[in-house]
């Protein structure tokens, strides 16, 4: 264990190395490139390999190949690169390849502003690819959390055999803070579920256990698994039979939900007696927390709910954090993506006795508490 003064890009890199990263594959893109550069120096010193691919499409497909060959593998990118990876994210989900994609969010759409923050990739982080599947997404809000949730995201990827996404942002990426770096032997590392059966009986897509996750034979171990991007049965054989398709894809969709208890994470601040609960993620949550403290100092009973696992969403904790509240304000640097998630949770839970507000701030910079307050006042809501 050691204390370091690191930005979140560096903290992610340290977290990944402690989580057992041994193959990093990337394509440079602002504001994630310094993470790549950091690992280019440090990872080979620990016996790992760093590879610069020709683009993000190559990156994600190489990650899948590396993952199935036994590597703990990751990449870091930003919006434009993440968009290019979409097809491969679906492939990784289909062949159940655990891997980590760090998306350091910047201003979009399209090339946007390369060096500036955005939060417009929240929905994309869950469902960038076509077709039904689910994965796991964590959004840290500090350099320490960037370290901690990189370790956690790697574990989540192996718990459910799916890609995991770490949603960072341009402000966190280049903000240094004190970070407690724990070494590999000081963190919990979840490994693959090894096949118990002999190779002749192995079926790469069969799960007998309640977690819906199949055991994982690597390439080169004699099990001859097929990574099949087509609809397939438990052996990995292409099948168009609707029953077989349904068995497969329902499992891909539901296995995240099935393992939800092991995956969800959130933090609530001052919500016990709150009349108004703010919801925000990432660096934005830091500004909102400061605003909540200002409001408390002025006698307004404000609180903050901060989802860390954006998917699966920690709806239990969210519902308890808003019990007693009169209004919810979702604050984000986009058109209301986190708002859509919150809205669907409220609808599913049948919660109708409170007002829900969308504070969609389409800005290329992180607002401070004063600017958020100003924006709230400009909307004419009567919140306090």
């Amino acid at each position: 264990m050691r204390q370091e003064f690191l930005n979140s890009n560096q903290a992610v890199a340290e977290g990944a190395m402690s989580a057992g990263l041994n193959v990093y594959i990337g394509y440079p893109i602002t504001p994630s490139s310094d993470l790549f550069e950091y690992l280019s120096e440090k990872l080979p010193e620990r016996g790992g390999v760093v590879f610069q691919a020709e683009d993000e499409i190559a990156t994600i497909n190489a990650l899948v190949g590396a993952s199935l060959s036994g590597a703990r593998t990751m990449t870091a990118t930003s919006g434009p690169g993440f968009s290019l990876m979409a097809e491969g994210v679906g492939f990784a989900a289909m062949v159940e390849a655990p891997l980590l994609i760090v998306n350091v969010m910047r201003t979009g759409p399209s090339t946007g502003i390369a060096t500036q923050i955005g939060q417009g990739d929240i929905i994309q982080s869950r469902w960038s690819s076509h077709g039904p599947y689910n994965l796991v997404v964590y959004a840290p809000a500090s350099a320490q959390e960037a370290f901690d949730y990189t370790v956690r995201a790697f574990n989540a990827a192996y718990i459910v055999r799916t890609p995991a996404v770490l949603l960072s942002d341009a402000v966190l990426a280049h903000t240094r803070e004190r970070v407690t770096v724990r070494e590999s032997h000081e963190v919990e590392i979840v490994d693959r579920k090894k096949p118990a059966e002999p190779p002749s009986e192995y079926k790469p897509y069969r799960s007998d256990s309640s977690d819906m996750v199949p055991s994982f034979a690597y390439y080169g171990e004699g099990y001859h698994p097929i990574a099949e991007s087509l609809s397939h049965d438990e052996r990995g054989y292409y099948k168009t039979d609707p029953r077989i398709y349904r068995n497969l894809v329902e499992r891909l969709v539901h296995k995240v939900e099935r393992n939800k208890a092991k995956l969800v994470e959130s933090r609530s601040y001052y919500t016990d007696d709150a009349d108004i609960v703010f919801v925000a993620i990432g660096s934005m949550a830091r500004s909102v927390l400061a605003l909540v403290r200002d409001l408390r100092a002025d006698g307004v009973k404000a609180g903050l709910f901060r989802p860390i696992s954006v998917w699966p969403f920690d709806d239990e904790s969210f519902v308890s954090s808003i019990s007693g509240a009169k209004s919810i304000v979702v604050v984000e640097l986009n058109q209301g993506q986190l708002y859509e998630i919150v809205k669907s949770v409220l609808w599913e839970r049948g919660i109708k006795d409170m007002s829900l507000h969308k504070l969609d701030m389409i800005l290329p910079e992180l607002p401070g508490p004063d600017e958020i307050l100003e924006e709230i006042n400009s909307r004419g809501w009567r919140l306090w």
Binding site: F5, N7, T30, A114, T115, V171, L172, H174, T175, R176, E177, R178, S283, R286, S287, L289, A290, R293, L366, G368, P369, D370
Partner: protein, 179 residues
């Protein structure tokens, strides 16, 4: 316990060593026992664009915010960025201005220290690129949150070996400057 809190803005043109100055100061403040949140902003260009480093520094309790709300300490090395970011700086803040590039101080600030840091770096230290270190040296002597020793230690741990000696000289020069 009353929380000690400082907010610091350092800004100038890309290439003046703004981000490095923020990093070295932040690392030294961590060693001095502060919580430090040091955020950086820069434009896509390596040279000539805006460059800003912000530090939110507390003792006793971790800071919540990342970005400065009202700085009580500021360093500006170029006029454009001083104008652009002056709204972040409180009227009573201690402000260091590099008079090599900034001809006059704006109205409002009551506690301004104007020194030709870049000229001093060029002619007295012998390397124009050490102006950022001259400022940090003076910051240590005037503000007092961090010792010259800790700044030297922090600088030595993050700059390339060939720069350590000249940077040390610049820090010491700044520390001994009289206004």
């Amino acid at each position: 316990m009353a929380m000690e809190k400082h907010e610091i803005v350092i800004a100038g043109r890309g290439g003046q060593g703004i981000l490095l100055a923020g990093y070295i100061l932040g690392k030294a403040l961590v060693d001095a026992g502060y919580y430090v949140v040091n955020s950086e902003e820069y434009s896509a260009e390596t040279r000539g664009g805006d460059s800003k480093s912000e530090l939110v520094v507390t003792k006793g309790e971790e800071p919540d915010i990342i970005k400065v709300r009202k700085a009580d300490l500021a360093i500006f090395m170029y006029t454009d960025q001083m104008k652009k970011y002056s709204k972040l700086v409180g009227d009573s803040a201690t402000v260091f201005l590099d008079s090599t590039f900034i001809e006059s101080k704006p109205e409002g600030w009551s506690n301004v220290i104007m020194v030709p840091f870049t000229e001093i770096a060029e002619h007295e230290v012998g390397n124009i690129r050490t102006a950022n270190m001259v400022i940090l040296g003076m910051f240590a002597s005037k503000v007092g949150m961090v010792s010259l020793d800790l700044l030297e230690k922090s600088m030595s741990s993050v700059t390339r070996p060939t720069w350590i000696e000249v940077n040390k000289k610049a820090l010491q020069k700044g520390y001994s400057l009289k206004v």
